[in-house]
Symmetry: C2
Subunit: 325 residues, 2 copies
């Protein structure tokens, strides 16, 4: 959910929800379930020509349509329990549908999230994919909210950054792939892995979390705004995708800071949890990198290798004008 | 969900869900929640030009987008607990959005179903509305399934029939409104009332239920197929909308049998529950009409006032070729 959408929803739809419902404006909503944990639910729309190319491989598209929603559950620390799929189809192309379903269902199966319902309709316009993901949070857990970051928390990010954005630019024809890296990086764009296990393990460890699907600076900005804090980002520590080593460092840095379509988690945890965080990374065989720390000053400050500091975003900023979704 | 869609979903998406998940292919899915009731969830896509006119009043559209989903919850006997809204918008028309939101939120509020999340994206194509409704079923209730009908059950329908279909035909220019009934019947099309209270009261009373949004014959056909039974429909007992009295009886009969966009419940109950059913109707000030009975022979037979019988649909038939959604 990007910021422009946010304000529309705020203005017209955000009537005060009941006090027990958490997370309107978070990655997903949390509805406490009697005395038995909470239901976590989120929904994303994907539009042809806007969120995916019309010629994208259908199995990859099926995978990604679910992955972006499981990533929202992951950012709340929820365990997936099921999903629903709405498809508006311009035509019934059975081989396409079969591959789309195989990509979708394989990921659903891998995460114990069976497809339990949905709707398929014909459209005269482009393909629309609407996915709802349902998750479970155990008792007495508010989940991983955006609003829990504390001053002096460490700032962490999972996985590697920069690959999806540069793959997109190459595929769009906006960047010439002189180094021939596309085969190594397009997986990040087309087959993102939602960090579902990580999210659940961070319950009780992290103070706040968000997935950075709209880009690190923009989504971290949401987390900071909602927590009422700021952060210093150590630019030299950002974990670039290994296949980007030969590319211009400036271009890679820009992709890591601003590039979207990244289904990694950015989270904060107190320094007392360092060992636990690192152990989780080892257990999951997933790099977890400390990229900065939380400050009281309500801005996101980048600290560059040359000692320079630069404000990357400030409270209330529309963090990135180039809204991707 | 109409039959053509059904078979697509069957073919490509209906991997065997876990045994505890009920209702793939029912009005909504039922996911048992630990020892604390069940989560009921459904999802509908509405496409401009297919499910609504581009010039429909935005508050009515907001109402209806949620109503069709609450109707699916009602058909399961579930109590609404929340909803999500996905909007793909061709443009940001703020007065339109404000009215759409007011219609949507008023119905959400009336049924205790707060809007807890969603997604808003821009599209170059027509408006797409995707709603997910969440509901609760109390302990030890499988809910009202399509598959529970028993031979000799009475067949009931709520409310009145025929109005929405004829209003649609008049608005489409396919029927001349010689009697000037449109003002009395367009409410049924544009502001349908989901039978949420009725559904909950039918728990423990009805054996099977379905909403007849795709038309009585088609949706009753699903219920009969899934229950492995047939029915006799007493055509003379079908409750025509009072404002249709002056229209040709044949036309009204056709609208009552085949017309879609009807958010009434069709349900079956043993004769021993007659008094309870009638008392529920009185308590809700909602006509509940006995329109036939369940048979062992797997076909839907219409019994006409002149004594004629006619088969309206048979097991395995694609009940109506004119798939409306």
């Amino acid at each position: 959910m990007a910021l422009g959408e946010f304000s529309l929803i705020d203005r017209y739809f955000k009537k005060k929800p009941p006090a027990q419902v958490i997370g309107v404006g978070d990655d997903a909503a949390v509805l406490p379930w009697a005395n038995q944990g909470s239901l976590v639910v989120c929904k994303d729309l994907l539009i042809q020509g806007r969120h995916f190319f019309s010629d994208v491989a259908p199995d990859a598209l099926g995978h990604k349509a679910l992955a972006v929603n499981l990533s929202d559950l992951a950012a709340m620390g929820a365990r997936p329990i099921g999903c629903l799929l709405g498809l508006a189809l311009p035509s019934v192309d059975e081989p396409w549908l079969e591959k789309f379903a195989s990509g979708f269902l394989a990921l659903a199966h891998a995460h114990g999230s069976p497809l339990v319902g949905g709707d398929t309709v014909a459209t005269n316009d482009g393909l629309v994919i609407s996915v709802t993901a349902l998750g479970y949070l155990p008792d007495a857990q508010p989940g991983l909210l955006r609003r829990g970051a504390c001053v002096d928390d460490r700032l962490w990010v999972s996985g590697y950054l920069g690959a999806a954005d540069l793959a997109l630019k190459i595929l769009q024809g906006n960047l010439v792939d002189e180094q021939g890296v596309l085969p190594q990086i397009r997986q990040s764009l087309e087959w993102p892995e939602p960090r579902v296990s990580l999210g659940q393990r961070l319950l009780g460890v992290a103070h706040a979390a968000i997935d950075i699907s709209d880009g690190l600076v923009q989504d971290l900005g949401h987390l900071l705004d909602q927590s009422g804090v700021g952060a210093v980002l150590e630019i030299a520590r950002l974990p670039a995708h290994p296949s980007l080593a030969k590319l211009s460092p400036d271009m890679v840095q820009q992709a890591m800071l601003g590039g979207g379509d990244v289904y990694e988690l950015c989270f904060t945890a107190p320094a007392s949890k360092d060992a636990e965080v690192l152990a989780i990374g080892l257990a999951l065989d997933l790099p977890l990198t400390c990229i900065g720390y939380i400050t009281a000053e309500r801005q996101l400050m980048g600290r560059y290798p040359n000692g320079q500091h630069r404000i990357l975003s400030q409270k209330g900023f529309d963090h990135f004008a180039g809204d991707r979704s």
